[in-house]
């Protein structure tokens, strides 16, 4: 095998793929990156058996072949070479020789035969969606905050990709709050799949600024994200996601329009005094024009701040300040709609104009 490639490109690709090549003691070969040249196409592959990252490397010249070497070692070696250097790889048995100007080294690798096979998406029956990377990144960040890391409830440790009324939406919940974002309107094919949050975090980390569009392909039990030179293939979570549409309240009878920044500020103030009670705060609407956020009095003291608002109906509700702050952070517009009910029902938060993002929080018992 032979490759000739620039330091920058190689370094970027290696840094991207080597992230997941760590720490599997059970199968040491997973610490390695597979470098394969097949008909002038160079791919760098790593996997942790939950997902695989494949980076297609643009090279100036190459000869077919395949090898695996320790990913972290190779990445760090290449990182430390001067920028602009042209790097040449060549292999002999399981040894990889790297030469770049005055620098050269030999890394002991392993046979590619031991490296796991990476499952592939069957293009024929795959369901494919396309979306701009900016929008996808933004939407993922808005939803991932609500996902859980409680391994005893596997369905909640992922993001649910689902179609409803020809709209593709993503949703996540940890049982206390739920976030949903409508991604694409008027889709033709249907999907219901839970993608592990950890895999999506890797997608977020791998997306570079120069990729404009991301392609998401679902198969029976796999998902593939393709953007720029990178492909990420992940398993899906084999569980059923709660029927969350039922949870989104339709008839909250108290609804207030609030300035997002000001609400964030007074929530933070109240949160300072609510640490010892698990972040619990009280939101209250007072006729004719006040919305107040206060902490429950405790040993540190108490706090009560108010905002100007148009109030139709009086009411109050207890909730976790951290969840409210997360939601406010995920909302984008200057003005938001905060609605709740005087009966036991979740709190609903939305942007004032754009209806695509929905965030709900379960109230605490008062």
């Amino acid at each position: 095998m032979k490759i000739k490639v620039s330091q920058e490109k190689l370094s970027k690709a290696l840094n991207n793929v080597s992230r997941i090549a760590v720490g599997k003691v059970t199968l040491p070969i997973l610490n390695n990156v597979l470098i394969r040249v097949d008909k002038k196409k160079v791919s760098l592959i790593t996997t942790n058996l939950d997902l695989a990252i494949i980076d297609y490397l643009p090279v100036s010249s190459s000869e077919d072949g395949v090898i695996t070497v320790p990913a972290k070692l190779l990445a760090e070696f290449i990182n430390n070479l001067p920028k602009g250097e042209s790097i040449e790889f060549s292999t002999k048995d399981t040894k990889l020789t790297i030469s770049a100007g005055k620098y050269s080294s030999i890394i002991n690798g392993a046979l590619a035969d031991d490296f796991p096979e990476i499952p592939e998406i069957n293009e024929k029956n795959a369901i494919i969606y396309k979306i701009t990377t900016d929008e996808f990144k933004n939407s993922l960040n808005q939803v991932l905050i609500a996902s859980s890391n409680d391994l005893t409830r596997p369905a909640l440790t992922g993001v649910f990709f689902n179609t409803n009324d020809n709209t593709l939406a993503i949703a996540a919940t940890d049982g206390y709050r739920l976030a949903e974002k409508k991604l694409i309107d008027k889709v033709e094919s249907e999907v219901k799949a839970i993608v592990p949050s950890s895999s999506l975090q890797e997608v977020l980390r791998s997306i570079s600024d120069d990729a404009e569009e991301i392609e998401i392909a679902f198969n029976d039990d796999l998902v593939r994200f393709r953007f720029g030179e990178v492909e990420i293939i992940s398993k899906l979570i084999d569980a059923s996601f709660p029927d969350y549409q039922k949870l989104i309240p339709k008839d909250n009878n108290i609804s207030v329009k609030l300035n997002r920044e000001e609400l964030t500020r007074i929530t933070k103030l109240a949160a300072l005094f609510s640490r010892s009670v698990g972040g619990s705060i009280v939101c209250e609407t007072k006729s004719p024009d006040k919305f107040s956020v206060k902490s429950i009095a405790n040993e540190f003291g108490e706090n009560d701040s108010e905002l100007e608002a148009n109030i139709d109906k009086e009411g109050k509700i207890n909730l976790n300040s951290r969840f409210l702050l997360d939601a406010l952070n995920a909302l984008e517009e200057k003005e938001i709609i905060f609605s709740f009910s005087d009966r036991i029902a979740p709190i609903l938060l939305k942007n004032k104009k754009d209806p695509k993002y929905t965030h709900i929080i379960m109230p605490l018992n008062s």
Binding site: P116, E117, P119
Partner: protein, 454 residues
């Protein structure tokens, strides 16, 4: 049908590396074999791909060898590692609950006996695991139980903390009572003996104190090393000891070191304590540790995989108490998380403190630290000097290099500046032998290790 899969797996296990086997096959199951349509359950799509492309032939052959008719083999995602209902407490039936309550009440009643003899009946010989580390002491203990006050009198038992001294001597006491209900036994840590004595003297009841002890058929003194610097109680103890000994009453003493290594213990007393020999409890070897854990698991009714036991045994190198506490922690975590202990270990969620493997120091660092500890320069220590303290320091350095870095004797010879690897072998052997009896050396080496890793 599902036992067939075990055979198939066993066959495959022979053919591939353990790493590959545990990664790809450990979580598989045979879902159905109907009409030759073989369905195999696997963890996720990565496993399907790997099994299909790399191991299909192996699986087919193994199935055929087990006389399973095959038309087609397919894979299905079916994770075996889903949380099992291991939290058995939730599903306890009333019957079981009643039985448990009975047990608890029963032990409550029995433990009232503790007040008189100071013995705790949870310590028995039956739950004391015998291994090469303690078999001598145990056989002596048995002969005491058969004939107290004869051959092994006094019975002096010593060893580091957490190796089972208290357990063994209390077990002797409990067995003696079980066989001779009228036997008068007293178990007391030396510290309690001391404070009781002071109280008695203060209240003018010194004579009663004396009489109480002299009526005993068996006296068990625990943690004798704490007698240090308490000369008056030592004198009293010595008198009681002599009287009981004259009457052929059994005396049992435990300590963490030999009497002549305890500062300020009267020489007469020291020599008398070891009259009938001194028995030591040593650190358990790997096999002993496994046996201890297995017994514990059995007694407490836990399920734990042999691999998990081996993992714990391999990684806890301090003493039995730590071994048991590590075991309990793992069992507890596994119940809380709903994973088996082995799954927990494989997930890396188990952190056993093992300073000696945390940060391997370089051989140079070790040599420097040892020299510094003994207030020598590296040059002095690695010279040919035969002055006693320099020689010992050199041998300690050899010992630590060999134990911590597993260097060859030739390499060690080069590190500490001796000519010959046989000198190194002798040095290591010497320290190993000394360690058995010399507790200050043991402490010194522990301190040096702390410095090396600290």
């Amino acid at each position: 049908m599902f036992d067939v899969w075990k055979n198939v797996l066993a066959e495959i296990e022979q053919q591939i590396s353990p790493a590959n086997y545990s990664t790809w096959f450990a979580e598989t199951s045979l879902l159905s074999t109907e009409d030759g349509e073989i369905k195999i359950g696997v963890k996720n799509s990565f496993h399907i791909k790997q099994l299909k492309t790399r191991y299909l032939d192996m699986i087919t052959t193994a199935l055929k060898n087990n006389n399973v008719p095959i038309k087609n083999i397919s894979f299905e995602i079916k994770s075996l590692s889903k949380p099992k209902t291991r939290s058995r407490e939730v599903f306890i039936s009333n019957e079981v609950l009643k039985n448990r309550l009975k047990k608890i009440q029963k032990t409550n009643k029995e433990s009232s006996a503790v007040q008189q003899t100071g013995l705790n009946n949870k310590y028995t010989l039956a739950n004391f695991v015998v291994g090469s580390n303690n078999d001598l002491a145990v056989s002596a203990a048995k002969s005491i139980i058969d004939a107290p006050g004869t051959r092994f009198n006094p019975f002096f038992l010593y060893g580091g903390p957490g190796l089972g001294k208290t357990h063994l001597v209390q077990a002797i006491g409990n067995e003696l009572i079980a066989r001779n209900p009228d036997f008068k036994i007293l178990y007391t840590p030396i510290a309690d003996f001391y404070s009781d004595f002071i109280d008695a003297v203060r209240n003018g009841k010194g004579k009663e104190f004396n009489r109480k002890f002299r009526k005993l058929d068996c006296l068990i003194i625990d943690d004798f090393q704490f007698i240090m610097n308490k000369e008056q109680s030592q004198e009293e103890f010595f008198n009681i000891f002599n009287d009981l000994y004259q009457l052929n009453k059994q005396i049992i003493v435990t300590s963490d070191r030999l009497p002549n290594q305890i500062k300020s213990v009267d020489e007469r007393l020291a020599s008398r304590l070891t009259w009938a020999g001194a028995f030591d409890l040593q650190l358990p070897k790997f096999e002993d540790k496994c046996a201890i854990l297995r017994t514990k698991a059995e007694l407490m009714g836990y399920e734990i995989e042999p691999e998990a036991i081996e993992y714990i045994a391999e990684n806890v190198n301090t003493n039995i108490r730590d071994l048991e506490s590590e075991f309990s922690t793992i069992i507890f975590t596994s119940e809380v998380r709903g994973l088996t202990p082995l799954e927990l270990i494989n997930k890396g969620s188990v952190n056993i403190n093992r300073p000696s493997k945390l940060r391997p120091a370089s051989s140079k660092q070790i040599v420097e630290k040892v020299a510094k500890y003994y207030n020598l320069s590296v040059k002095e220590m690695c010279s040919k000097s035969r002055v006693a303290n320099i020689k010992t320091a050199r041998q300690v350095a050899m010992f630590i290099l060999s134990k911590e870095l597993s260097l060859s004797t030739n390499k060690i010879a080069a590190e500490v500046g001796v000519q010959d690897h046989t000198t190194v072998m002798h040095g290591i052997k010497k320290i190993e032998n000394d360690l058995k009896l010399n507790f200050s050396l043991r402490d010194q080496i522990e301190e040096i290790k702390e410095k090396i890793y600290g």
